[in-house]
Amino acid sequence: MAEYLLSLKEKIGITVEAEAIRPDGFAGKKRVQIEALPVWQGPRKLALSEFFDVEVRDGASSGPAETAIIIEGDLSRVKRIGQGMKEGKIEISGSAGMHLGEEMNGGDILVKGDAGSWAGMEMKGGSIHILGNADDHVGSAYRGSWRGMTGGEIRIEGSARSALGAGLVGGRIIVAGDVQNFCGIRQSGGAIIIRGSAVRGVGAEMNGGTIAVCGSIRQFSPGFVFAARDNDPVIGEERLEGSYSRFTGDYSLGKNVKGTLYCREG
């Protein structure tokens, strides 16, 4: 396993767009090559070394799958880390900025802090694990599109905000904490499990896939119809404990909708 260590030099002002930080782009490269990778700050194209100290550990060059990037510091103002990555690993000790792992195809990202909005937007495979909280639009579709994440897994140990899994087509998103509005809006496949509570708009206009909310939903979407009562339902590999009401919807979208919404009873 080749390891690349990036340490943030100092606090970042204007946000930096760093889609160059991905294992496929690092694999087999020497330190000077990594330092020269281009990133954007506003309209300026700069070298990665402008913001990071680069260290190569276990430099034995190997393929992207055997490449890990370890980043230290608060990266909440660094966007697009791991965008489009296909394999390998990224580990961030602090927080990550917007568009983390956007459109990734494979590989793993671990964020020990929080993640900004659009994490895993339209991702196709691989995994993102966020130990802190996440912002809006996690695993969602780009603005205007109704085709969001199609595969892979996003796990959030904290809470997320609105439009989580918007337009979800495949894959799954598991949130240990709460979400806010419109989680799974326009969902057509895949699964969303919220261990905590949701505010409103859960599954609005969904026509496929599954959402489970283990806490409470403050304002239930009106287009869902009660289907059955299930005990300890299993969604994919996840088993939910307790008694759940199963609904079908969202009938506000049409007659032949196949979305499933589980809500914990009591």
Binding site: A141, Y142, R143, G144, S145, L253, G254
Partner: protein
Amino acid sequence: MAAINTAIIKNGHIFDPLNGINGDVKDIFIRKGKVVASLSGAEARDALVIDASGKTVMPGGVDSHSHVAGAKVNAGRLMRPEDHYKSVRAKTDICHSGSGYTVPSVYKQGYDYAAMGYTTVFEAAMPPLEARHTHEEMRSTPILDMGAYLVLGNNWFVMRYLKDGDIEKAAAYVAWMMRTHKAYGIKCVNPAGVENWGWAKNIHGLDEPNIHFEVTPRELIRGLAEVNEMLGLPMSLHLHANNLGHPGNWQVCRDSLMIPSGLDPRNKSELVWGETREAAKRKQSVYLAHAQFNAYGGTGWRDFCSGAADLARYINQVDDVVIDSGSVPFGPATTMTGDGPAQHDIYMLTGQKWSNTDVELECGSGIVPFVYLKGSAVHSVQWAIGLEVLLLIDDPWKTIMTTDHPNGGIFTQYPLLISWLMSRKARDDTASECHKWAYDRSSLGGVDREMSLYEIAILTRANPARTIGMAWSKGHLGAGADGDVTVYDIDPNGLDVNDSAALRGKFARPDYTIKDGGVVARKGEVVAAPDGRRYYCRPYFDDSVEKEMMSDVKDWFKYYTVGFANYPVPDKFLKNPVAIQVNRPIEAAAPTRRG
């Protein structure tokens, strides 16, 4: 340093159908932006010389029906951010940045058309109230020469006059409207039907009166076609027929085309005409828009099939119809028309996001994003129909190749359409990737016709120019024509039409796009971005009738939300305007100069 806009294109194989030149090796001379028979020795020494030996030379491409400017196009841009974020073009020293795939920004549109060898593009639908916006966007479009057709098929004033049988006042009104909004031609969209859409209804038969105005599509088509010839506009009535997009609509379409039959096409514009061997003035009294969407058979989506062969049978018998194809090259599109109810139908079919606008006393419009898929039965038949309407109509001078951009597909797919028209094998290859309905529900599989480069030149420049009355300066390379030339890296000798990928690449990125004698694009890259011209017509009608008409207009103007003084498009909205005087009284007509 070459003299400005003076050029010699040497030894190319010229395809200039309006002059009957079919691949002959000749030189083209351009002096100060205009094609000339020859240059003097001194001029030739200073001219830009382009060696086109072993290459195909055509007049600059002309798109006579494309949605590229105005409120509807811009609404399409606004409601489709997902169409933009992956289709971007960076700023260069001479080019503006831009974005958008099916609905590009005006800058990107201009560059992309020019890079593909097109120099003239006409906006297909300009609602009168949105004329300012349309002109603003045309003003910002680089390189291209443009104009726009005024949507009048559901206009309250037109409907009232035609219901009353007052064709003279209708003509005076149309003339005034075209001058007021600086429009080029008359567009008629779903006549009588869009008005009904205000009450959530449509119209399905040509003799069905609409609500309140009680005027029928037949009366509107006939009336506007008559007005068109009374005024003597360069272009004929441009018709978007009723029942667009409905299975079985080919009959209504054919019957609509019969309505103006027998009218004498008269072009009473004051222009200096470039030299052509073929007649450069239009022969048609009706120009049907996007035939593909109006050539459907069957009675519903289950027995949906092509009606193109039936429609083509009629068009093959007559000489007064021209169509553009509105072909479907598959892939993303954004459907946008002034046909509000048709757009609602698409929304109900797809469940996609939908926008709808009612344009006060004039018309309406709708927008729905769309993706044409090879795996879809219906889309595969639409693909076949879009090629059938071009291949089954025998005379290429009755057809124009378009995608009705961005309805059937985007204009940058034109090279793909050309590859299908030129090669049966290319069609068979695509059909084998499509749903089997493509060939089962159409006659395309039995069509052997393969178009020549000469026919492609007719479909993509000569005929669009002639049909819209622009062949005085566009669509040919005779002396006096604008120096708009496209040089493709295609050697007509030994051309393998079955190598689709190579052919597409060559049509997509011509060696040179020359506009007014200056190179604007080279191998698909824009190298110069001059401003184009904006054409519009200034038709005249009887003064006394116009006075009476104006008092009606002022009276009825209370129904508008705009003030009368703010209605016209001021001159400052146009860059390089070219006003074409039409039907001017003899005493008023002084010699006009060409712009």
